[in-house]
């Protein structure tokens, strides 16, 4: 089931224009991790809300990574037009504004657990670091 879910996510990312396989792999892992943690958090929310806010942080981190990857791919691959540049800029700053507003709402209005939020936001960095370590280890094995 997990393999089929991963394959479907991979296909969806391909259709969305993510052509670099490493980025697709990372995004796929990140989407699956954040989806699983969000589902687990919603299930545990009545008696342990830390998991829910962890899932929300992970989802926010995934959204940011997804949008950033799409933005950079847009710059590199799309032919330059004024409308394209304006659209990319609008989406980039819109994403930053949205992230700021969501964080403000979560911390100030909902008063969520900041440790949970920060742990969720760190999932993206952790998965990139894990991917880098795994890749380095794979290269060493190949060289040996």
């Amino acid at each position: 089931m997990l393999k089929s879910l991963a394959r479907k996510t991979d296909e969806w990312l391909w259709h969305k224009g993510f052509r670099a396989s490493e980025i697709r792999l990372l995004l796929r892992c990140q989407i699956l991790v954040s989806g699983a943690s969000l589902l687990a958090g919603v299930a545990c929310a009545p008696f342990w809300d830390w998991g829910l806010w962890f899932g929300v942080g992970a989802a926010l981190s995934t959204f940011n990574f997804y949008a950033l990857a799409k933005f950079v791919q847009g710059i590199v691959f799309l032919p330059y037009t004024r409308a394209m540049a304006a659209g990319l800029m609008f989406r980039f700053y819109g994403r930053l504004l949205l992230t700021g507003l969501v964080l403000f709402g979560l911390i100030v209005w909902l008063k969520v657990s900041v440790s949970a939020l920060l742990a969720g936001l760190s999932t993206c960095v952790l998965s990139i670091a894990a991917w880098g370590i795994a890749r380095g280890a794979g290269q060493k094995v190949k060289e040996a």
Binding site: A20, E22, I23, L26, S61, N64, F65, L68, A69, V72, Q73, V76, T99, G100, L103, F104, I107, V108, K111, V114, L117, L118, L121, S122, C124, V125, I128, G132
Partner: protein
Amino acid sequence: MRKFLMIALNTVALMSFAALAFAADGKMDAGALGLTCLAAAIGMAIAAAGCGLGQGMGLKAACEGTARNPEAGGKIMVTLILGLAFIESLAIYALVVNLILLVANPFVG
């Protein structure tokens, strides 16, 4: 340069301890509030400047690398995306810490 850095860091440390001392009784007076706002503003400014510099340098190196060797563009793009994601997460952490300082300060009742 080193002397100036030491003086600046000591001043910032003293100012932050003063803010904590003012806020210890559960209410924040105007002085402590002002210092907290100043600390948050300076913190966010430093974070934004550092992240902007880092992203700019990364982008510049990626553009140069792709211009010199267009065939390596795909690999450079992957590294660029990962680097930008790393740097941007630091700015988001700084934003969270500043929001905590300003509106969800644990030292204020």
